[in-house]
């Protein structure tokens, strides 16, 4: 997958822990870990909304597109 989740960087900037962030977003720490470890296959708009709200950032700050050869493949 060519979409990279830069959640770690934003969390470090805001000085917020994984557990606290998961609680504020309203998802389980396990799911947050899936997102952080680039294993997620999809993200709900509601989750993205809460992340941006809690971290006071734009979706572009946490999601990044990097062109790669495996583009066009349905799964990562």
């Amino acid at each position: 997958m060519a979409i990279i989740v830069n959640l770690d960087v934003m969390m470090a900037k805001r000085k917020i822990g994984a557990g606290e962030l998961a609680e504020k977003i309203g998802i389980t720490p396990a799911n947050l870990s899936i997102l952080k470890n680039q294993k997620a296959k999809a993200i709900r708009f509601s989750t993205l909304n809460m992340i941006c709200k809690v971290l006071e950032c734009q979706p572009g700050d946490i999601l990044e597109f990097v062109p790669r050869d495996d583009d066009g493949e349905p799964d990562g």
Partner: protein, 168 residues
């Protein structure tokens, strides 16, 4: 009013759970029943085959070769049949434990379908001597096909579940 509504909702939920559990119990009971039936057939198979000799079947008198063919088919088909029953048993245990869409179930179903097709192939050889076995060949092939399609559905369901599990 609200209290009654809540109670009836809860009752219905409980009823659903009880029905599902009972349904699995009935299925497991049937699997054990068929295992018992198969064991009985295997124990009495030789005697049954020998008894068949000389009886008339569809304007054809069963000869010694015919009854021998019946016995050979019965015992060689027993092996895949035992495996299919074991696979069903494992499948029901997994389903009862809430592990429905897992790859183990898919491989169990795949092996069961191959076992059924293998039994059909064994009986197909027996058809040369005993024409009646053609019914068993058709039945085994058809059930094997159904099991295979169920397996394909399970494969798709596992892919969908994985996608859902990895949606944050």
């Amino acid at each position: 009013m609200f209290r009654r509504l809540f109670h009836s909702d809860l009752e219905q939920e409980m009823k659903k759970i009880v029905t599902a559990t009972r349904s699995i119990l009935i299925s497991r009971g049937l699997v054990y029943f068929f295992t018992l039936l198969l064991i009985t057939l295997d124990v009495t198979g030789w005697w049954l085959g020998m008894r068949l000799e000389g009886t008339a079947l569809l304007r054809h008198t069963i000869s010694f070769e015919d009854s021998l063919c019946f016995i050979i088919c019965l015992y060689s088909c027993s092996i895949p049949a035992y495996y299919v029953l074991y696979a069903l048993h494992r499948l029901l245990i997994n389903v009862a434990a809430g592990k429905v869409f897992i790859s183990e179930n898919v491989s169990l179903l795949r092996r069961s379908s191959w076992c059924l097709l293998a039994a059909a192939a064994i009986c197909l050889i027996g058809v040369i001597w005993l024409r009646v076995l053609l019914i068993i060949v058709a039945a085994a092939c058809f059930v094997g096909l159904i099991v295979r399609i169920v397996m394909n559905v399970f494969e798709q369901a596992i892919a969908m579940k994985e996608e859902l599990d990895l949606t944050v």
